[in-house]
Symmetry: C2
Subunit: 453 residues, 2 copies
């Protein structure tokens, strides 16, 4: 009665090699977060649907994985409710929980619910999987990890600087060349104001967010389709075509936005951030990019996006400042700023560029290879001593041919073997073999420890 095993589409198993690579990414990101005083939290995989619904738009509601209520969930339903065959309406009656869709909404819920337990400004990071019932395709999964880092309860621009420093440090450590793109929502609001279309700010930003992807012409068409006047579209053109250095762009913007208080505030924020980047000698290129709107209309200040230079892939990190994330849960007026590292895209970039370190601290350093019970027993105290020194080691647990044991070492990418036969036992030594060079060396325990440390 056996069954051919499979996993749900859009989900993945991670083998030891894949896990080692993923842990390299997560550990790098975590240690940088900690360097800046961010602390980890975790929230449950399941949230109440009342927490999740309505936060990601109508499309998002559909993409939530919903959990069927336990027990006899049909018990209280009328025949009419059932025969209606309205899946959406029935869902409300047979499901109360869903899997988290991102880390932002659970974080907002967490802050409000645990406000008495945390110190503000609250610097938190969170690395957990999220689930979306999206159509799976290359690079898009139904279960994937997000790595979010946020400060809430402080509107100081030092926080924006820190996030840029974190990006700079993480990608230097991962050896990925990136450019950090920076914009400010207040500048976008200023632009909408100046061209006389303040109430269309969302339509405008959503459209110009696509400038890179669909080009100027299509963006103009899309804006026009939203009912924006030709006058406004004409006025928008020089802004969309802005060029030169960051300083140049800022100077041009200053003259265009001179009469918009909001716009000038955005420019001043940008200038402060650029100046702080200079003070702290940020090595990554930081570039003002007005086309950056990130399609999310809860941003209110800085907007960030990070792109890898050597790989064709979407943004690998992004975020921004928001002023009212916790309002929907009853705690208005808390300003925060945060970014999210796309672990799965970073994983794809590192795979493509083959940027993983050759050895991992997690892996076995040496495999003991032996040929009988006597040899096995001889090895046990050696293994014990190595482990006391913190050296990861193992012994092939069965009596097996040399070739089989060696190929086990290769399969696990173990760099050394310690071979034990009759002679070695007589001399109370092991034959240490470097699996890469093939070099062999007879070692006593001290020599072995030294060679492996």
């Amino acid at each position: 009665m056996s069954q051919k095993p499979s996993i749900p589409k859009g989900t993945r198993d991670f083998t030891p090699q894949e896990m080692a690579n993923r842990n390299y990414i997560f550990n790098t990101i975590k240690s940088v977060f900690q360097l800046y005083g961010f602390q980890q939290i975790e929230t449950p995989a399941m949230e109440n649907l009342s927490t999740l619904m309505g936060k990601y738009g109508e499309e998002g509601d559909k993409l939530l994985f919903k959990i069927l209520n336990s027990g006899d969930y049909l018990n209280n339903l009328s025949n009419e409710e059932l025969l209606e065959k309205n899946s959406i309406r029935l869902t409300n009656k047979i499901s109360e929980k869903g899997l988290r869709y991102d880390l932002t909404v659970p974080f907002a819920r967490f802050v409000v619910q645990n406000r008495d337990k945390i110190s503000f400004p609250f610097k938190r990071y969170q690395i957990q999987p999220v689930w979306r019932a999206d159509r799976p395709q290359k690079g898009r999964y139904r279960e994937f990890y997000q790595c979010d880092v946020d400060v809430v309860g402080s509107d100081s621009l030092l926080n924006e600087l820190e996030l840029i420093q974190i990006v700079d440090e993480v990608y230097r450590r991962l050896k990925i060349n990136v450019v950090i793109k920076l914009n400010n929502r207040k500048i976008l609001s200023g632009i909408a104001e100046i061209i006389g279309e303040s109430d269309k700010i969302t339509d405008i930003t959503v459209a110009i967010d696509k400038l890179d992807k669909i080009g100027l012409e299509k963006v103009n068409e899309e804006i026009a389709a939203k009912g924006i006047s030709q006058y406004a579209i004409d006025k928008l053109q020089p802004i969309l075509k802005l060029s030169g250095s960051n300083k140049d762009k800022i100077e041009q913007l200053k003259s265009v936005l001179a009469t918009s208080e909001t716009g000038m505030k955005g420019i001043s924020e940008l200038e402060t951030i650029f100046s702080l980047c200079e003070t702290t000698q940020i090595q990554t290129q930081v570039e003002l990019d007005l086309t950056l709107a990130r399609g999310l209309n809860y941003y209110t200040g800085a907007i960030f996006e990070v792109k890898a230079k050597d790989v064709e892939i979407g943004s690998i990190t992004g975020g921004g400042r928001y002023d009212n994330l916790t309002g929907v849960f009853g705690m208005p007026g808390i300003s925060g700023v945060g970014i999210s590292f796309g672990a799965d895209r970073i994983y794809d970039v590192l795979n493509q560029l083959n940027l993983y370190p050759e050895t991992s601290e997690e892996q076995t350093k040496v495999l003991f290879v032996s040929f009988g019970e006597k040899e096995l027993l001889f090895c046990l105290p050696w293994l014990k001593t190595l482990r006391e020194k913190g050296i990861n080691c193992e012994i092939y647990p069965e009596t097996a041919k040399m070739k089989k044991q060696m190929s086990y070492a290769d399969g696990k990418n173990i760099p050394f073997t310690a071979i034990v036969g009759e002679n070695e036992i007589n001399e109370n030594k092991v034959m240490l073999k470097n699996m890469k060079t093939g070099n062999q060396q007879l070692c006593n325990i001290e020599e072995l420890i030294k060679a492996l440390s």
Copy 2:
């Protein structure tokens, strides 16, 4: 339109302090697993219900969290199917996926599905949450972590030894006093054989598993109720009352089980394991306990259970050898042995005994306290230098009163503050304050690095 936020019953948020404590446990366990050459894998939170159903008994099937199919899931249902109002039958039609219930079944599925990618013997560990729709109560959650470590593809008793060594090392590092209880399923089978009730082996082991909890009398009643003869029950009594040292018990068992080949095989396995424990100087008490059956009838050899000595709590680690875990997925005859660390119970034990280390490597070492923009800017290069040295540090990002900044440091349990005012800037120094002793010391950058390293 604000809502009071909450989370589903039986689930938990983890605050930074709780996460630091949990990470201490997970990191300790992980580093010991790695010391013995075990490698990490991960499997998806969602599995196909066909993988999960029928593996945990009828009760287990009910406790699975099931995911509602996406889209218009009612579309293909007939009126009859709906009006039947049979929740269990309808579930099969509107749900194809469930959340994993343990790590064992997904692991078996993983081994079969990825057999070509892994080297056998396969030593894996897995640390992930599992979900059960159990009634929540003190110490029992609907989402909790399991930490499983298994070797499959080797029947060498060295693997049993390694698991004992791992238990010994993990609990020494965590400073929890434990006793390791050991039994062997073959001995239980031998007993059933000798008393003439081989076909009732499951009933007998399930009942005697409860000896500790309900006492001898109730166990006898329970066995009798299963239809086991009085003759057999009488014959069972001396075995249940077995006492003395491990050696004594083994000697008594040898005479009782002399005619059972299976029973004698179990005794011989036990003797080998005890002898290996002596060779490797296991410090934890390892005790033969015949009442240990763990109620799981897939065990075929060694059975382990670990109890904390200083806290009233159930077993905190347990496992055993199984010979056919992967058979149900089409890969029969693979022997394996594994144990599972109950992270949430260990967490409760450490909380009760207050055994957490005072400081964590993850936490901020020093908070810069300053009183204006000039001071903030002065601090930035200092922070940068400390971070280059790998020292976790942060600056209070707002201009705020000394008291507020100090209480922020206290709230985050930060051991040092570096105070910067006019005088410090003039001298190019900071005033380092030890938050515990109150001692202050004026430092230049080199002195600061030295004090914090």
